[in-house]
Every structure is written in C-alpha cells, then in structure tokens.
Subunit: 332 residues, 2 copies
C-alpha cells in the first residue's frame, strides 16, 4: 500500500505509480470494449465501471486504481443532461438545475464491487466546482474557454451562485463515494489555469477549499489536481490537502520547495513525453525520480491524463521503469 | 515618448499604454476594411499596413503603434506557403524551406511610410523561433498543440534543426524592420507555455536568446512577450531583454519582484476582462495600476491580444481610464 503511505508522507520504499486516465483509449482492451457501446452507457453501468477500472491491472503493475468515471457524473445529481459525442467530447445542455436524489447508485454499486475485487487502493474523484461550473457555461471543451470567461466577467454574482450550487452537490456526490469505501479522493480542477490570480482567488480557491475540507472532515485523504499548480502552488497548499498533483509545466523540485513538507506531491511527467523514444521517456522520468528520490511523500504520475493515441508499449515501459529502477538520492 | 522612456526604466510620468492587437476586429473601422479583401492581401500591401496600423489612433489615445502584420510574415522569407481562412485562422503548408530574398519589401515600405506619418513610436515584431517552428509542424492553431509536441518528442534533433533555420531567418527579418526604422521590437513566444521546464530550457530559451541578443546588438529595445512569463519569469529575465510582457495569469506585483529592476515590465490585464462592466474593468485595471504605481519601467498592456468580439466602447473606456486617472503609490 505504498500509495496510501506516500499520501501520508510515510513511504520509505520506491515511489508508487498510477496514471491519470490509466483506463483509457491507449489500452487496446479498452478500445475493444468501447466499440460495443456509448461512453455514456459505459459510465452508467456498474459492471462496466468495475471491468474498466480493473483493465490496466491485467498488464500494468500500478499501485492504485481510479474509478472509471467522468467529472461530469455530478451532473446526474444536478439534473443537467449531457452526452459524449465522437470527435467532440462531452456536450452539455444546461438550462437550470433539477436536483435528483439517488443519482449515484451506479457509482455506489461499482465501488462496492471494486472494493471486493481490487488488491490496490481505489481512488474516487470529482471535478472542482470552478471546472464544473465553467463546463456548464461552455457546454463543451474549447481552446480558449472564452464563453465561460465572458460569463464570469459579465455576470460575476451569477457565476458565484452557480459555484455554490455545484459545490454543494459535489460534496453530496463525494459523500456517496466515501461512504462506499474509496481510499482517497482526487479533485480535478482541470480548467483553473484559464483565469488570472484575482479571479483564481475569488472563483476557484474558496469553492475548492470547501470541497477539500468536506473530504478531510470525513477522514479521507484528498489530492488536488490543478493545471494551475505551477502558477499557484502556495495557494493550493494553503488548503492543506493530503497531496497536490502538479501539472507538467511545473519543475517538480521547485514545487516541492514551495509547499510544506507534510503535503505529498504527485506528478508530473508531460503526457506527450510518451510519444517519444524509450530514451526520451527514460531521461524525462529519471529527471523526476532523481528530484524526488528519498522523498516519503511522493507519488509518480503524469502531469495530466494519458493521451488517447499514446503507444501502449510506451506506457508499459514507463510503469516498468518506475517500478524496477532504483534511483538513489544525489546527496550521500 | 513615455513608451520609450518606460522601456528604458526612466518614465517619471503616468504609465504609457498600447494594446496587443489594437488594430483588429474589435474596431468597426477595421471590420469595414476587412470585408473588402483577404487578410493575406492586407498583410502584403504597404498602404494597407500603414492605414491599419494607424486606425486605432483615430479615436484612442495610445502611446505606441505596432506594425499591422502577422508573426507568419517570416514564412515569406522562408518560402513556406500559408493562407488565412475564415473561422479557422492561418493554414500553413510546410514541406521544406525555399529561402526568398527580398521577401519583406512590403514591410520595409510600410515602415518607411509609417515613420513619416506617426507621432508615436512604432513597434516592429516577430514570432519567437519556438512558436514559429511549432506553427510549421502544427499547420494551424489548435487546442492542445499535440502535433508539434509529438514531433518534438519523437524527433528532437530534427526539431532543433528547424529551430536553427527559423532563428536565422527571423534575425534577417528583424534586420529589415530595424533598418527601416522601428523604435522597438517585440518577440512573441505565444506558444512557449505548452512545454515543461526541461523542454523550455532546451527548445525555447536558447533560440529566443539568440534573437534577443541579435536585436540588442543593433541597439534596438526588445520586449519578450511570452505566455510562459508567469511560469518562467526568471529565465526570461536572464536573457536581459529591455522588457518582459507578462501573460495575464501572472500576478504583476509578484513578477516585478522576480525580475531585476532594470528590466521593464509590460502587461497584463486579462483580455476577457473587457467583456465585463465598466466597474469590472475599472477594478481589474486599478489593481494593476496600483501594483505598478510610481514604477519608472512599466507599460500598460493586456496579457494577450484584444479579443475580436470585445465591445469597442470597453477598449475606449480602458484607454481613457489608464490615461486620465492618476493612481498614487500606496506608500506615502
């Protein structure tokens, strides 16, 4: 259980490894499953949640599983319709909320089954309020995120009201996961880097704080993933999560110095490195492993999810390399 | 000439202001011109370059003009075909280079005419080698920039060779602008935030350095604009440009502390703030003006270009506000 040990800063062995989107399209087995049904159906069927969550463990020696789900699952509870479209991704039809009780039974059931079957810790997750609220406005993933930003600047009070409602439902959703028995929660604030410092402190941080404190009050370890870690590491650390998952822009050694030693660090290989040769992958991985060598609160991961068109053998190479190459600290 | 004074850290009056993409689609007069011909033709006609460069000065009290051109102009000298397509933007057909002499006569002629007609300093510019080389690979603007990143990790030596060739041609192109009489050069490294620290130091910084030193050797002030300023301000400052233009993610007061006082600072209002109410614009502008009050090396600007659908009256309000509201330093 090196993952949970590292999360509490007490891992004396080699660093644990798991990968964001480790059960995804780069896996031939996942692609085969996906041809048979829609992504929406897959996310809503407990047995598929179990099967896909376990898929990477057939061939990869990973130290934690992450629930096969999407950050949009909270929209089930908020009563906002959404679909997943090929080439486009999620498409959200947001008019208003219509809160649904018992919206997360498939999640609860999936976690129940997984807890019986997994031999590694299970990570549950949710999107951070800012990222979800922005998604509601934007309707889909975009390049510049300008529709949500326009809304934020045009109607800041309305955006804050949206953030409050999303925050409350997110806490309810996380309660379901925690009660079902997940071993840790990761909060994805994937879009927080789209705003400047002033808006980060007003629209991102307070709501992220409420979610983090909610999870901590339930004695569940909580990891913040933010693509704004390199920008705002200190501010994220001040929320006192168990760990921060750094985006790939950040120099991990530098982030380590910016945050207190009792907060664990996760990350942060650029997923695009996995397009490169084994030599490229090894060099980039060594750089991270050396910077974090001997650190009892370090978890290897990417700086974002595995890219869908990543060659499977490169992911396999990375996992084996991290697991089986002992890197000693530079200082004696 | 408060702009040039600020660039050399000697401006004792209120901060000068100019805006990236100040001659662009938010201007009704520009939209009218653009209906008549293609963007490619506009960029290649000296008289249009003059007309458009001067357009914002009809109604806005700006302290510097920037040449109406595109960072892709260097492709004229590299002999790489490109077009501008509605809704899509630039489309580049890159096979190989076929260097063209005298490719920049329209630019030279435009600058000659402008120098006679303008009463403010004229800024010339070029894309940074990393941004241009990536554009060549990517072919167009994209969300994640993955094609260029894949190339970079798959074929790093080939990418470096590309960077070298682009760097040489960029220096030649800047020589044309400097000899024609521009008062300062801004280098746009608009895509440098797409890479991690290791790749930033290998593929971005050395080539940016060569361009900056080339301009400095010709005794022309040089500004680096980078969307990675908030991430790598120290590394950019180490190149000793005249000024750094900060992206809008950055907290300007913090960037000011991270870079030496003799390097001027430009920026960095989030362009999306201009979607907001006058109150929103005023508050965000005040925050910046207060942080920079009394600084003799500060130039007001956005953190990126004016967004095409920005209401003109909001830009007008911003410029008037910066020019006519005296903000005193907080300390007495």
């Amino acid at each position: 259980m090196s993952f949970l040990k590292a999360l509490s800063g007490q891992n004396l062995g080699p660093p644990p490894i798991w990968l964001m989107r480790q059960a995804g399209r780069y896996l031939p087995t996942y692609r085969a499953l996906k041809q048979q049904r829609s992504l929406y159906d897959m996310f809503h069927d407990p047995q598929t949640i179990v099967t896909v969550t376990k898929l990477p463990f057939e061939t990869l020696d990973l130290d934690a599983a992450i629930l096969f789900s999407d950050i949009l699952t909270v929209l089930d509870g908020l009563g906002v319709p959404y679909t997943f479209q090929e080439q486009v991704g999620p498409v959200i039809e947001f008019q208003d909320f219509s809160l649904k009780k018992h919206a997360y039974q498939h999640i609860q059931e999936g976690i129940d089954l997984l807890k019986d079957q997994l031999s590694v810790p299970l990570i549950g997750f949710a999107g951070a309020p800012f990222t979800i609220a922005s998604y509601l406005i934007e309707g889909r993933t975009t390049k510049n995120f300008l529709k949500a930003k326009r809304f934020l600047f045009e109607q800041p009070k309305k955006f804050e009201h949206l953030l409050q409602q999303v925050t409350e439902e997110t806490c309810r959703y996380l309660d379901v996961q925690i009660q079902a028995g997940v071993d840790a929660i990761q909060i994805f604030d994937s879009w927080a880097h789209h705003v400047a410092y002033a808006e980060f402190t007003r629209f991102v941080l307070p709501y992220l704080d409420r979610v983090v404190q909610h999870v901590k009050a339930r004695h569940c370890p909580v990891i913040i993933f933010s693509k704004a870690t390199s920008l705002f590491a200190e501010e994220l650390a001040a929320l006192e999560p168990s760990a921060i998952s750094a985006d790939w822009n950040a120099d991990l050694a530098e982030v380590r110095q910016r945050i207190p030693p009792h907060i664990a660090l996760q990350g942060n290989l650029d997923p695009a490195v996995l397009y490169g040769s084994k030599e490229t992958i090894q060099q980039a991985t060594d750089r991270i492993l050396r910077a974090m060598a001997g650190n009892p609160g370090y978890i290897f991961n990417l700086g974002h999810g595995v890219l869908p068109d990543t060659p499977y053998e490169n992911v396999k190479y990375l996992v084996d390399y991290v697991k089986h190459h002992t890197i000693l600290p530079v200082s004696a």
